[in-house]
């Protein structure tokens, strides 16, 4: 029995489209219908623009009718995290600060997807300014995990994960600063890829922490992730941190690059705090690779213990500066109480930002303030060097690393929101990758007894996404986790 349209993969749907078995308008209507059916329960969207999506779909169909189809993504509905600019559409970062902001310009990834013919569908919910691990920090209310609506889909790209897991999009984009793609992918049973820093343009991505942020895809399969990555990867002259590197045909490489690989198991990622069911599922995945002839080696990333600390210093410092522009002057929320310019700043920001954003701005301002720079920011950057070095040392021995993505499966909404530190600990397996700038992906590797998805993290070498995807693909081909869908 084939899955309904809204649960099919890009690979499948693009064949249907090519064979004219369906039109993009039909597909988009199906996805919008599904969106309307589930959105009140999942709250994955901040907004969606049905006429706009259908107009894009109609344009795709007429391209196809004229023999001008752009490829696998043409006509496929793709949702964007609400931190990625689409001209003429709202861009809120799930913040009251930008509740009424409409972007007058496109992000580079937006243009790339448009160029590939994708139907951009919806502005996806997330933690405010991408700060959080549960999407509970959204000013517009949390997203819910389609596998268990009382639980979080993870964060910060929780809406991107929830929408896809609920069938309200065929693929989505998120952004990952400390795990914000991989952790929600794990919690929602999806493939989520955080590319190498510099592979995807950040132009048009609302900055949280500039030196760590990276856009990446959520997809139902590794192949779909490869397709979307191929459309958005590549050098962008508008982003000075964008890297010039050859972009392979990731999809084609999936079949070309075969193991066996040498895989490293970093001991630091399997310690206290790891949920036993998660640990067991990851061990089984490791056993699978071993059975496939891969060499499995224990490796050590000795500075893992400091990742969280270095991350919270660097990320909050950069955030405190990046978020200074939200001041109620040129755009965004301006307090009605403001009598003078200082009021405009202080009251607009107090009213416009939620607690987690305020906490991170305060922490970031503190670590950069006079007398503390060396002790915090500079020191964290040096520790970052050591963390990066750990990974590069490991890659002298192995091709990729295997770890759990999240120490826990999806937790209950509200469970951790009172304790920031407990929430920060959700990211311990994902943060190091951002500090080192590496590519990593999460893919489904099982379910808990309670039916919650479990994610496996594969960490690759810089700019070698093709190998990383191929490694994941090998696992996925032998398992059927990706064929299971949340029922709601």
């Amino acid at each position: 029995m084939t899955a309904p349209l809204h649960f099919q993969s890009i690979a499948e749907l693009s064949e249907h489209l090519a064979a004219r078995r369906i039109s993009s308008v039909e597909l988009t209507q199906a996805v919008i219908a599904r969106t309307k059916a589930v959105e009140s329960r999942v709250h994955a969207f901040n907004s969606f623009d049905e006429p706009d999506a259908l107009a894009q779909a109609a344009a795709s169909d007429s391209r196809r009718a004229g023999g001008q189809s752009c490829g696998a993504l043409d006509g496929i509905p793709i949702g964007l995290k609400d931190v990625i600019a689409v001209s003429g559409q709202p861009l809120t970062a799930s913040s009251k600060m930008l509740a009424n902001f409409v972007s007058p310009y496109n992000a580079t990834v937006t243009e790339s997807l448009q160029g590939a013919g994708a139907v951009l569908h919806g502005r996806l919910n997330c933690d405010e300014f991408a700060m959080g691990s549960s999407t509970e920090n959204s000013a517009f209310g949390p997203a819910h995990n389609p596998w268990d609506l009382t639980r979080t889909p993870g964060g910060s790209s929780g809406g991107s994960a929830a929408a896809l897991a609920a069938g309200a999009a065929i693929a989505t984009l998120g952004s990952d600063t400390g795990g914000s793609i991989r952790q929600p992918a794990a919690l929602c049973g999806l493939v989520g890829l955080k590319p190498t820093y510099g592979l995807i343009s950040r132009f048009g991505l609302i900055a949280y922490a500039s030196s760590l942020d990276q856009i990446g895809p959520f997809a139902r399969t590794v192949e779909d992730a490869a397709i979307v990555l191929g459309a958005i990867a590549g050098h962008d002259p508008r982003d000075s941190t964008s890297f010039k590197t050859e972009i392979p045909d990731y999809r084609a490489e999936l079949k070309r690059r075969r193991g066996p690989w040498k895989l490293g198991i970093p001991e630091e990622y399997f310690g206290a705090g790891l949920d036993p069911e998660v640990g067991a599922a990851v061990e089984k995945a490791i056993a699978f690779y071993k059975a496939q002839g891969c060499e499995i080696r224990e490796v050590s990333l000795p500075h893992t213990h400091y990742c969280l600390d270095a991350y919270y210093v660097i990320a909050t410092a950069e955030a405190s500066s990046n978020l200074a522009r939200y001041d109620g002057i040129r755009y965004g929320h301006r307090s009605r109480e403001a009598k003078d310019v200082l009021d405009v700043y202080q009251k607009s920001r107090a009213e416009g930002f939620g607690d987690e954003v305020k906490r991170r701005i305060i922490l970031g301002t503190y670590v950069l303030s006079s007398g503390y720079y060396d002790a915090y920011y500079l020191r964290a950057q040096k520790v970052r060097t050591l963390i990066r070095q750990d990974f590069l040392n490991a890659y002298r021995e192995v091709d990729a690393l295997i770890t759990p993505t999240s120490p826990l499966p999806a937790f209950k909404l509200g469970e951790k929101s009172a304790d920031p530190l407990a929430m920060y600990l959700c990211d311990i397996y994902t943060i190091g990758v951002n500090l080192a700038g590496l590519p990593a992906l999460s893919l489904p590797c099982g379910f808990t007894a309670g039916g919650l998805p479990i994610g496996l993290q594969l960490i690759g070498q810089p700019f070698r996404e093709a190998d990383l995807l191929a490694t994941a693909h090998a696992y996925e081909q032998a398992h059927d986790w990706h064929t299971k869908f949340a029922s709601l």
Partner: protein
């Protein structure tokens, strides 16, 4: 007790580029409000900066002109403070690794008289760094309006050592920077357009003391003469405070050039903590020898070096050089023309430029580049005068016609019949003979050794020649005839 003032200047120079320093929307002055913005200028969510290569070229060139060391590596830092003219609420600037380090600005102090060159000295620089300009606030009765056209314009900050001691030095320093930047094509340095802006740090201390006194920052010195007046005023104010037994406080004062007064800026602004940190959105700049040498080759001769060369090689008077030098185009025009005119004629070329040419240009409100007079046509004119073919008074008329029509001088002379007469010596000799014959009294005096008596013969000759007789030729001819008489 004797006090001396210590002055350091922070000079901001807008770099002349087509686009802004971290985005490619156009840069310019005098446009309708908010027509020179883009998402980056307005700091819209998601925007990122990209360096402008031309702004880097310009600042490196400025550094080379001022003898700075060009840092092999420099980076970008965020200087964080909230202000409505600053779209990101941080300014991209350079904190601990500026692109230009050290260097100096040669200045000339006023001479004893207008025609005497004053003392030259070198004011050492601390650094020059590149940053972005902010927008402009327009203050109204009840509110302020913000225009971001200027935001993101490339801005060089030239920081001197606290090494000046008088308002005159500061004035000379700013003047020298201005000329140098204009020479280098780096900026037009029009203070009225805000292309050159100056803040002064001023303190006084007992002579002999090496520690700096309490520093006052003087802001809004927005014309070159306000810089001189404002600093002089501030030094006087500080001396008066100390003389009255008062204590100076560290403060920022605003100078009002119209009233010649200053007042403390008691801004409610909280104490600054700029929280500088390296901008993660930008990559560092590495300047290698090849890049530096390419720019060095494009560097013009410095104004003062050119002046020294003109004085030495062309023997033009100091007063003429001080007219020619400030404008690179004018001095180049002079040099081209002087070379075409040939040896011994440079002074005449200089005089024409300094007097007639500038007068005509300003009357016609024309820039030098639009002039129909060329170095070659001016050289030709000088040649005609030197050869005696054209008299000075007639030459002035020729010049005006050349300026208006662009004709060659010879053509004007022919058209207007302004050639010195006679064209053959025979006619002149006849007039001279007639004049000598008509004045036996003067002839006797001359023969008796009174040389001045020769002048009595000249009037009738000039009259006969209707003013176009060449006085030099007349003198020569008379002497030849008188010697034989």
């Amino acid at each position: 007790m004797n006090y001396e003032a210590v002055i350091g200047l922070e000079v901001h120079v807008q770099i002349k580029t087509h686009s802004k320093v971290f985005t490619r929307v156009g840069a310019g002055y005098g446009h309708e409000p908010n027509t020179l913005t883009d998402p980056v200028v307005l700091a819209l969510p998601g925007t990122l900066p990209v360096m402008n290569k031309a702004a880097l070229d310009a600042i490196i060139k400025a550094g080379l002109l001022l003898g700075c060391e060009i840092a092999p590596v420099c980076k970008w830092d965020r200087k964080q403070y909230f202000y409505p003219d600053s779209p990101k609420n941080y300014q991209i600037s350079q904190y601990d690794q500026p692109i230009c380090i050290g260097g100096s600005v040669e200045i000339e102090l006023p001479g004893a008289a207008r025609n005497i060159m004053g003392e030259h000295k070198k004011i050492p620089l601390a650094r020059i760094h590149l940053e972005e300009d902010v927008g402009k606030l327009n203050h109204h009765a009840a509110d302020s309006l913000v225009d971001y056209n200027r935001a993101g314009t490339p801005l060089m900050e030239i920081v001197s050592d606290p090494a000046m001691h008088t308002a005159e030095e500061a004035y000379a320093y700013l003047t020298s920077i201005r000329h140098t930047m204009i020479y280098g094509g780096i900026s037009d340095c029009d203070m009225e357009k805000g292309q050159l802006r100056c803040d002064a740090n001023i303190s006084i201390r007992p002579v002999g003391e090496t520690k700096l006194g309490t520093k006052v920052e003087l802001k809004n010195l927005n014309s070159i003469s306000f810089v001189r007046d404002g600093i002089a005023h501030e030094i006087k104010r500080q001396l008066a405070v100390v003389a009255a037994g008062g204590k100076l406080i560290q403060e920022t004062r605003d100078y009002d050039g119209q009233t010649g007064t200053s007042q403390s800026l008691r801004s409610k602004e909280m104490a600054h903590d700029y929280r500088y940190f390296p901008d993660p959105d930008l990559m560092p700049v590495q300047v290698d020898a090849a890049w530096k040498e390419k720019l060095r080759a494009e560097c013009p001769e410095l104004p003062f070096d050119k002046q020294r060369r003109f004085l030495r090689d062309y023997q033009v008077p100091y007063t003429i050089t001080s007219v020619l030098i400030p404008e690179r185009g004018l001095s180049d025009f002079f040099e081209a023309s002087a070379q075409l005119a040939g040896p011994g004629r440079a002074q005449a070329v200089g005089n024409w430029i300094a007097n007639d040419f500038l007068r005509e240009l300003s009357a016609a409100k024309l820039p030098l580049g639009a002039s129909k007079i060329t170095p070659a046509s001016l050289a030709e004119l000088v040649g005609l005068v030197e050869a005696g073919t054209l008299l000075n008074t007639a030459a002035k008329e020729v010049f005006v016609a050349m300026f208006a029509t662009g004709e060659a001088p010879a053509a004007v002379v022919a058209r207007l019949g302004l050639a010195a007469v006679p064209s053959d010596a025979g006619e002149l000799e006849t007039w001279c003979r007639d004049s000598i014959a008509a004045n036996p009294k003067a002839l006797a005096e001359f023969k008796a050794g009174k040389d001045g008596a020769i002048n009595a013969f000249k009037g009738p000759v000039m009259k006969a020649g209707k003013g176009k007789a060449n006085p030099k030729l007349v003198d020569e001819t008379l002497r030849r005839l008188l010697a034989g008489a």
